[in-house]
């Protein structure tokens, strides 16, 4: 292939331009890469296999169902629209639990995570009004999203990975609704990246025996 000096000059200029453009954005890209690397630091799977992780996720979902049910019965949720949303979200979590339970197979417990239930139960018992209930639900939804981000780093089968990836966004959307009602700052409701910082740690919140 022949190439003229003019063509060569133009190519060199193009490469130089691309190099300069790349160098200009590199510090930001490195910073972002480090940020996401940090965001991926979370609980350790501790040797759990896919079935055990799915069973753990099932237990988290059932704890969320129990929390929403308890909240609805608390008498503190007085706004019908909030109650309706809680009912809808509880229904989603029930479906998530069924899906994770099926994924877990023999490892499924069909029981709410006992320690998570205990922790959320204590928060609900201390709640004084509807906003306090919503705050608990907001934390729970963000924790669920973070937990599934953690799970995506531990699961190995394509089916389990894809199931988890279909649920994480829904928990994040629940959090948007609840955070909006709570009047949270936009940057709280819409982080730049999902993180594992609020993930439920399976070693600290084991499934029921």
């Amino acid at each position: 292939m022949q190439i003229s000096s003019r063509q060569l000059q133009r190519l060199v200029a193009d490469v130089d331009q691309q190099h300069r453009a790349g160098m200009a954005s590199m510090p930001r890209e490195i910073k972002d890469l480090h940020a996401v690397t940090r965001s991926l630091r979370g609980p350790r799977a501790g040797g759990l296999d896919d079935g055990a992780i799915a069973a753990f996720a099932e237990s988290v979902e059932l704890a969320a169902v129990a929390a929403y049910t308890a909240a609805a019965k608390s008498g503190l949720v007085t706004t019908k629209a909030v109650l309706d949303a809680a009912t809808a979200f509880a229904g989603h979590h029930q479906e998530h639990a069924a899906a994770f339970g099926a994924a877990a197979g023999a490892a499924a417990t069909k029981k709410a995570n006992p320690k998570l239930l205990e922790a959320v139960g204590a928060q609900l018992a201390a709640a004084k009004d509807e906003m306090a209930i919503l705050e608990i639900a907001y934390g729970l939804e963000n924790a669920a999203a973070a937990t599934y981000l953690f799970a995506l780093g531990a699961l190995t089968s394509k089916g389990a990975l894809q199931l988890t990836a279909s649920i994480l966004p829904v928990e994040a959307q629940h959090a948007v609704v609840l955070g909006t009602v709570l009047g949270k700052k936009a940057t709280d409701i819409f982080p730049s990246f999902e993180t594992q910082s609020a993930a439920v740690d399976p070693s600290k919140f084991p499934v029921a025996a």
Binding site: E29, A81, A88, A103, Q162, V170, T180, A186, F193, E194
Partner: protein, 276 residues
């Protein structure tokens, strides 16, 4: 483990019907959510609750596929390239097929490039983010956005898409590829007529919703396909955020902010679309 096919058959399909029914019955919209998010903080909590969650139960809006201004164009474009991408990937049936895709040939049949599947997925992701950045800039510059809260949301979301693009660029380099720094040309071509026909703020929000939905579903669809398993997490650090954007924009359009119990991928952009 139950297979993915079982999930689809036993849960996802049933869920799609059930959640549709559920939302028609009880899930309200919250049209003015962004006003409260980005606007006045004077309203009290009860007002926020009612305004956010109450009110609209528009069955017509629940048929998501039929409501999008640009969805058909995007899907048409992506659908055509999806089959092409599938064909290309399907042709690489050697041992290396799982990790390497042959990309494009000249008219004389000479192979012009090869790149790993991971790189191809990441370049596609970056191209979508770059497109979102440009689309939001177009919206901001259009003069059609009259509501300050929507303008503020557009700026925040655009800034986040810039961060997402930078992340995908970094990951592409890390995977040994060259970042794709331009808006996805196939999708851009598909939506350009619709962009040119935009007449009002709600049209812009619908465009944003289409792009955010495509992004969220694309990243979900990529999970489980990576050779570098760390990327399953990395892409969903972004995918979850796009889903949050979808919820907010849906609310502005009086659509359910959480449309179903499981996010599906029928609007996902096939990897390789426009980035070969």
């Amino acid at each position: 483990m139950t297979s993915q096919q079982d999930f689809s058959r036993d849960f996802l399909r049933r869920e799609a019907q059930e959640s549709q029914r559920l939302h028609e019955e009880i899930m309200p919209s919250y049209r003015n959510a962004l006003n409260r998010l980005f606007g006045s903080e004077s309203s009290n909590s009860a007002d926020k609750s009612m305004a956010t969650l109450n009110g609209l139960n528009r069955r017509g809006f629940l048929r998501l596929g039929g409501t999008t201004v640009l969805g058909a164009a995007v899907l048409a474009a992506c659908g055509s390239t999806k089959s092409a991408a599938t064909t290309t990937a399907g042709a690489t049936t050697t041992a290396a097929a799982a990790t390497t895709t042959t990309l494009g040939t000249t008219s004389s049949g000479v192979v012009v490039a090869e790149m790993s599947m991971d790189v191809l997925v990441l370049r596609t992701a970056q191209s979508i983010e770059e497109l979102a950045v440009v689309a939001y800039q177009t919206a901001i510059d259009s003069g059609l956005v009259k509501t300050a809260a929507i303008g503020d949301a557009a700026k925040l979301f655009q800034a986040q898409h810039k961060e997402h693009a930078a992340l995908f660029a970094s990951l592409t380099k890390k995977a040994g590829g060259d970042p794709f720094t331009k808006p996805n040309p196939v999708i851009l071509d598909a939506i350009t007529p619709a962009i040119q026909a935009l007449k009002d703020e709600m049209g812009i929000v619908r465009l944003a919703l289409d792009l955010e939905t495509a992004a969220a579903e694309t990243y979900q669809s990529n999970v489980g396909t990576f050779m570098d398993v760390m990327l399953n997490q990395a892409i969903m650090t972004v995918g979850g955020v796009e889903a949050r954007h979808v919820a907010a924009l849906s609310s502005v359009l009086a659509l359910p902010p959480v449309s179903k119990a499981f996010q599906i991928t029928d609007k996902a952009v096939a990897y390789g679309t426009g980035v070969k």
